[in-house]
Amino acid sequence: MNPDSWSLWRAQVAAILRLEIKKNFLAKRGLWIYLLAAAPVALMWTHAMLNLRDHRVCDLGHDSLIFATMFQFFYLRFAIFFGCVGVFLRLFRGEMMEKSLHYYLLAPVRREVLLVGKYLAGVITTSIIFCTGTALTLLALLVHVPRMAAEQYLFAGGGMGHVLAYIGTTALACIAYGSVFLVMGFLFHNPVVPVVLVLLWEAANPFLPQLLKRLSVIFYLHSLLPISLPAQGDFAFLAILRTPMPAYLAVAGLLSIALAGLWLGARQVRKLEINYGTE
């Protein structure tokens, strides 16, 4: 592997990113992904605007608990999960269905470089959409709080750490789920059933034995969340007995899942054939 190869691969990945990111963002079929990302934003901003209009005093602690619940149960388990399904399954399987994948396979691009380029495009797309959603929702949380209280929360009360943790968790969710669904696109002609199985597996995570828990994405994502839902009170019915691990181990776990997915994807993409008749 010489430096020329690296610079060629960089140029090729950049060319793939230009094509794929444009396609991902502008796809009409992907409109529902924006709606998924925008749902909590709309909810929190409506709440904030109503509070501002009615001059109600905001309980930041209560609101951040609402956000934590929404993030854990809607955003991570549903919006990002299905958003990644929509983007990453389309990268190869979708192009096979549309009979346009041969465009890439007729270029002097290593299959592995193509895989990395498309995967990065998916990660960038989903991260931008969902991290923006997370950031805007958090902004709505603070916009109707008195400025002093907001600054206090952000800079003295660990709020900035929470913001970064939520945004980081969102990006890592895109990285890990993206890799899982990228591989599924290779392995299954019709990935609906396997996607449902993964969804059920992720939902059943709290009830699994310790060893099996580690074979899911949500286990590691939960360990990164800055706010735990209390086992008593309004949200007790949603609380999950979790066994958090240190953040660095959780990040390593998520990155390992992503790398394992890419490794499996690389094996598949090398064997990939254009045989649209069987799609």
């Binding site: 060319a15 396609k23 346009s100 002097p108 691009v109 290593r110």
Partner: protein, 313 residues
């Protein structure tokens, strides 16, 4: 790149239980080579194998010294105009070619220049900035051709490249193929249009039901079809006199006077010997106007080897 030929060594490809191509061994030299055969005979499978879009079930393929499963090297010198009529969404003709060149790793200025040149060669400059989705069938065919030739490949693989082209563009495209072949490139074409294949090909590969039925230059292939003696049409003033002399040759199996009474259709198993002997046979008072083979073309070879309905032999 080493080697100057495209080689297939005992290549087979099955789709499950269905045969794509079977035990194909070929050596394709530079020039225009046409793949001819009915639908389902294996032409596209052979092209997809050649370009790595499919992998052989068994056997080896070598394209000027490079294996098709090494796309990074292969597509530096191979261009493939596929039969697939689908394109990445939302692209203009210019973007289709330009982005392909950027995938080669070419910088913007070079990619832009090569794109404009390729689009100009296929006479699509005026429509280059329009979306491909709005193109006619012929325009889509031409933009695919532009993509295949834009990086100046030395091997050009073209699956039914003349489909949908109007006669003028068709003639220009054939001239383009001819020019590329004369420059020492390999141009491999699949086509159903036999008289065009006949006019442009340096060699043909006849396929039927996944098997190579014949390969080589048309004349050579025709000569090898021994079941069907060669037909030679002789225009002369006294065909019946000539016919009586011609039967003296043991290689002649039939001589039939033409309906207009001014010609003779001869069927011979050894045309070369027949031509040699013809001058000696011409008797006083018989004036030869012309002597020409009547079935020394792809159409006849196709009919003899594959059958008039495209069935198997």
């Amino acid at each position: 790149m080493t080697g100057s030929e495209i080689l297939f060594e005992n290549v087979s490809r099955f789709y499950g239980d269905v045969l794509g191509v079977n035990r194909v061994s070929l050596s394709i030299p530079p020039g225009i080579t046409s793949l001819v055969g009915p639908n389902g005979s294996g032409k596209t499978t052979l092209m997809n194998l050649m370009t790595g879009l499919l992998r052989p079930t068994q056997g080896r393929i070598n394209i000027l010294g490079v294996a098709p499963d090494d796309p990074e090297r292969l597509f530096r010198f191979v261009g493939y105009c596929t039969q697939f009529d689908s394109f990445p969404r939302g692209m203009t003709g210019y973007e289709f070619v330009y982005s392909y060149l950027r995938l080669h790793g070419k910088p913007h200025a070079e990619a832009d220049e090569l794109t404009c040149r390729a689009i100009d060669r296929v006479k699509l400059t005026d429509a280059a900035t329009r979306k491909i989705a709005g193109y006619s069938k012929g325009m889509r065919q031409r933009i695919k051709l532009a993509q295949a030739i834009c990086h100046n490949p030395s091997v050009l693989v073209l699956d039914e490249p003349l489909n949908g082209l109007d006669p003028l563009v068709r003639a220009e495209t054939i001239a383009l193929f001819r020019a590329l072949a004369e420059a020492g490139r390999h141009v491999i074409i699949s086509s159903h249009i036999l008289h065009e294949v006949d006019a442009i090909s340096d060699q043909v590969i006849l396929l039927s039901s996944g098997y190579v039925v014949a390969e080589g230059q048309i004349h050579g292939v025709r000569t090898e079809v021994e079941d069907h003696p060669m037909q030679i049409l002789i225009r002369c003033n006294r065909p019946s006199v000539l016919a009586s002399r011609i039967f003296e040759l043991d290689t002649v199996v039939e001589a039939r006077v033409h309906n207009d009474g001014k010609g003779l259709l001869v069927r011979t198993r050894d045309p070369d010997r027949f031509y040699l002997m013809l001058n000696r046979l011409v008797v006083d008072g018989v004036d030869l106007e012309s002597v020409a083979p009547a079935d020394d073309d792809v159409n006849s070879v196709y009919e003899y080897l594959i059958g008039p309905d495209g069935g198997s032999i």
